[in-house]
Symmetry: C2
Subunit: 340 residues, 2 copies
């Protein structure tokens, strides 16, 4: 009758039972007989009943909503993480609310606030580059709602984290370059104190050390790691006539910038200079030559993040167990670093 407005009460009335029974039947409560369940389900269909998650959420205190905070959704790494989260969450009846912080502290705070208002059951976040105050995240924890950090994290919060082994990945890339005969390896890093970049720098340095190669400050370039930054850094190196036979960039974009500049200047890649990036951005396989890089396992990272959440949901006891999951990144060797 009334446009798709059937409630459990309507079902109850038709069947001469109460709403409680209908509710329990619909939730497959063992205290309801099979025959009643059958009838309820049948009548629900007949009346075109649509469960109201909002009402359910209010009463039960569980919204079945998960908030995911990323700097931006239109970057492959983050959208792939979201995909991973969705794969797990949707299967368990949870929906995902996306929020972008745009690397902006204010926005990040607002976004967390909005998610809290929406009464999400959990928040997964990757911290913005400019965030150094974590009160908004602490607030989430104070309200006892699970917070899980992925990729970009901080040790100032007692939460579970899902990251990849940046150190190991950088070590491997550097070692690979050394194996290919390089000894003057440039490293592009970020000025920020973000741990992922620090870890990669350490991996780079340790690999050099372990292979008895000097760590030359002249070979380490700091920037924002965008494509243009990669170009500028490379030009600087050339201008300063720094000798180098490889570039290991902590970002695929900066690696691309380097590749462009070097090709423009007539350098043969990989014969004269080898180039490796980080992130396995989709474009790296389409460049000429394709760029060696590190896959950050975005989809698995999203999956694991969600799985970690659901695991703690069940083990209510151990909700204090903050655990750190370190995923193994994958070195993807392409032509930009291979001797023919």
């Amino acid at each position: 009758m009334k446009k798709g407005k059937a409630t459990i009460h309507d079902i109850a009335d038709k069947l001469n039972i109460t709403a409680s029974t209908v509710s329990r039947a619909l939730n497959d409560n063992p205290r309801i007989s099979e025959s009643t369940k059958k009838q309820v389900i049948k009548m629900a269909k007949q009346l075109n009943y649509q469960p109201n998650h909002i009402a359910s959420a209010l009463r039960s205190g569980k919204s079945k909503l998960i908030g995911v905070v990323v700097p931006t959704v239109n970057r492959n790494f983050f959208s792939s993480i979201i995909r991973g989260v969705e794969e797990i969450a949707n299967g368990l009846g949870y929906r995902v609310i996306i929020s972008q912080s745009y690397e902006d502290y204010e926005k990040e705070v607002e976004t967390i606030e909005a998610l809290l208002n929406a009464r999400v059951d959990g928040i997964f976040a990757s911290i913005g580059k400019n965030t150094s105050n974590f009160e908004h995240f602490q607030k989430v924890l104070d309200k006892n709602i699970p917070l899980i950090l992925f990729d970009r994290f901080t040790n100032e919060l007692e939460v579970s984290q899902i990251v990849i082994d940046d150190y190991q990945a950088a070590y491997q890339v550097t070692k690979h370059l050394i194996t290919q005969g390089c000894s003057r390896i440039v490293h592009f890093t970020s000025a920020k104190k973000i741990s992922i970049y620090k870890d990669r720098l350490r991996g780079y340095e340790d690999a050099l050390r372990d292979h008895n190669l000097p760590i030359d400050p002249l070979l380490i370039e700091e920037s924002n790691m965008q494509l243009e930054d990669g170009r500028i850094c490379t030009e600087n190196l050339l201008k300063k006539a720094v000798q180098f036979d490889a570039i290991f960039s902590s970002s695929d974009y900066a690696a691309m910038g380097a590749l462009q500049v070097l090709k423009e200047k007539g350098f043969k890649i990989p014969q004269e200079v080898k180039i490796a990036g980080f992130g396995n951005e989709p474009f790296t396989s389409f460049t000429d030559p394709p760029i060696t890089t590190v896959d950050q396992k975005a989809i698995p990272m999203g999956r694991v993040t969600a799985e970690t959440f659901f695991a703690t949901l069940n083990n209510e006891k151990t909700d204090e167990t903050q655990q750190k999951t370190v995923l193994k990144p994958e070195l993807i060797i392409r032509q930009s670093t291979q001797n023919k």
Copy 2:
């Protein structure tokens, strides 16, 4: 006291007023005095009050949630649309729930159902490739919740649509190639009856016709338009010894496949064969040579979709006005089609 559990009642009690007044004060209702509003706001802060959107949604019937359905979130075009939607929606206090259909009809149906359960105030969707039955979307309309289609649409539903002018874009690309001296232009299209591909094909054909060039069926290749398909189609052309001096692919990926094969076979691009794609995927600017393509205005498309939604929200009267917005795509000319 009780962990972040303050409600408007708690605020009301402390101030010796009623919850209604608090609710109105918080919503800036003009019937509440400024002094009371001030007190309420102050007390809300003091008690660390957190609005409960769920309760509000139940009572008011407005969840302030928007459901966005895309085939997959980890493709630049779609994630950029989501970004555009978010930009507008968040500013107006709405949150966005993402759902992926994975180009799977069943998933698409499920996803719509879940969004309906979540009581979203509106649904924005791009139809899956394999969807030919639209009952699930019709159900949304029957429940009187606004549905807006973007990019991939159907005329079987009476809804507002946001698309780009695929015909015009294809016409321009083809004309550009002709201007560059090409006369044997290959077109890669999709076998599906999806309108965007049909429109692009029409644009291609009309441009040829308008320039007195023949439409040669041998030059039209149908496939799924992935990179591998582009490779195969190109190899087919070469195998069949079809003469051509340009390829206009309805997909950047297939264009990339063509570029790879042609380069491998020793063709000079753009001197011997010019290549143009469609979509402005990020990688197209990084290939060698960079590929001419069409920007589909993803972010604006997302913004307009959201704006269309909010516009109809306000003009309750005209909620029957289904409107079709056609965005103007942008031809991005790069080296792959330019004579030196």
